[in-house]
């Protein structure tokens, strides 16, 4: 198969200082310089960002959907991991 000249890149944008970069989508681009420009043009048109990361999509290692049951279902019964058993004083307000 021919080499993919314009591979896919995952785009992460940080909306403000102090917040984490968040995944917001993907772009096609020939290399990392063009990927950053494409990300800027596609995902920051309305003032969404102060910083952009791009990562080759091929560099992402994903969990296997076939292992979904063994990965995630065991946690369903462990409700004690949710911090919902504490009494919060009214003065604290919404946490």
């Amino acid at each position: 198969m021919a080499k993919n000249e314009i591979p896919l890149w995952e785009v992460f944008i940080r909306p403000r200082n102090g917040l984490a970069h968040r995944h917001c989508g993907s772009v096609h681009a020939a290399d990392e310089v063009m990927a950053l420009q494409a990300a800027r043009d596609v995902y920051t048109r309305r003032g969404e960002g102060t910083s952009i990361w791009v990562v080759p999509s091929s560099a992402i290692v994903a969990s296997d959907p076939d292992q979904k049951a063994e990965n995630f279902e065991p946690t369903a019964s462990k409700i004690y991991r949710h911090p919902t058993f504490y009494k919060i004083p009214d003065d604290v307000g919404h946490m």
Binding site: I6, H28, A30, D31, V33, M34, Q37, A38, D41, V42
Partner: protein
């Protein structure tokens, strides 16, 4: 009516319309790509640049209307003049051609405008300095985006390199007009509101040379530089462009949205 320091009003008005027309016409050309770009990412990138240009044109037309003081609006300037009253450079009205042509045309224009806006930002007219301060950041990105494409196409595949070289040959006659000197450019430069275009040639050449070296492109010799746009004499392409651009306002005068 505005009294600008140290420059005749008719010269200032001509200067403003030349600059505004460059941006409107080139912005319109770029907008023709909307929905037709070779990839979705560029389908957003080119209209982004077009919107920068049209925003700059609007600010300049608004100021031109104020300077003229005859009650004309930015829309009157943009939509309701005749072909010979448009004073844009011929480069701006060149048809899009292929993607390589469009990128190179934009690269040339941005490489010229960047030092021009920088000069105007430091110039003696507060309105123009404010417009320039915003535009200089926008156009810095235009240089980067179009320059990176020129490098990748020029030093890319056999096909992309052939197309890039064809664009260099096709647009060569339209570069020199950017740097023309006449009584208007002299009056503007003397008043200190914007630089004399000819004085920016060195910086323009450096920007081009840097990218062309990486793009494996040769600077062409221009045997027959074309001129006339600054005095309202345009190429055949201009009439078709204006028919498109003015259609709505001519058909539904005063339409707004």
């Amino acid at each position: 009516m505005v009294e600008a320091a140290g420059i005749a009003r008719k010269h200032l008005l001509t200067f403003l319309l030349r600059l505004a027309d460059d941006h409107l016409i080139l912005g319109h050309r770029l907008s023709e790509w909307c929905g037709h770009a070779p990839m979705l990412e560029e389908d957003l990138a080119m209209p982004n640049i077009a919107l920068d240009l049209i925003g700059q044109a609007r600010s300049l037309y608004q100021y031109a209307a104020e300077v003229e003081g005859q009650g004309r609006s930015e829309d009157d300037f943009a939509y309701l003049r005749r072909e010979r009253e448009y004073l844009n450079c011929l480069l701006a009205e060149r048809p899009n051609g292929d993607f390589a042509h469009t990128m190179l045309r934009q690269f040339y224009f941005a490489a010229f405008m960047h030092p021009f806006w920088q000069g105007m930002e430091k110039g003696g007219d507060a309105t123009l300095a404010a417009i320039a301060a915003k535009a200089v950041k926008e156009v810095a990105y235009h240089i980067r985006h179009t320059g990176e494409w020129a490098i990748r196409l020029g030093d890319g595949t056999e096909e992309s390199a052939r197309r890039m070289r064809a664009a260099v040959d096709a647009l060569a006659p339209y570069v020199d007009e950017l740097f023309e000197t006449d009584p208007v450019t002299r009056a503007v430069a003397e008043s200190g509101i914007a630089p004399e275009p000819a004085s920016l040639r060195g910086e323009f050449d450096r920007t081009i040379d840097q990218v062309f070296a990486e793009a494996m492109l040769d600077r062409p010799e221009t045997a027959w530089p074309q001129t006339g746009g600054r005095r309202g004499r345009h190429s055949e392409a201009m009439g078709y462009l204006l028919a498109d651009l003015q259609h709505m306002q001519r058909t539904y005068p005063g339409a707004v949205w």
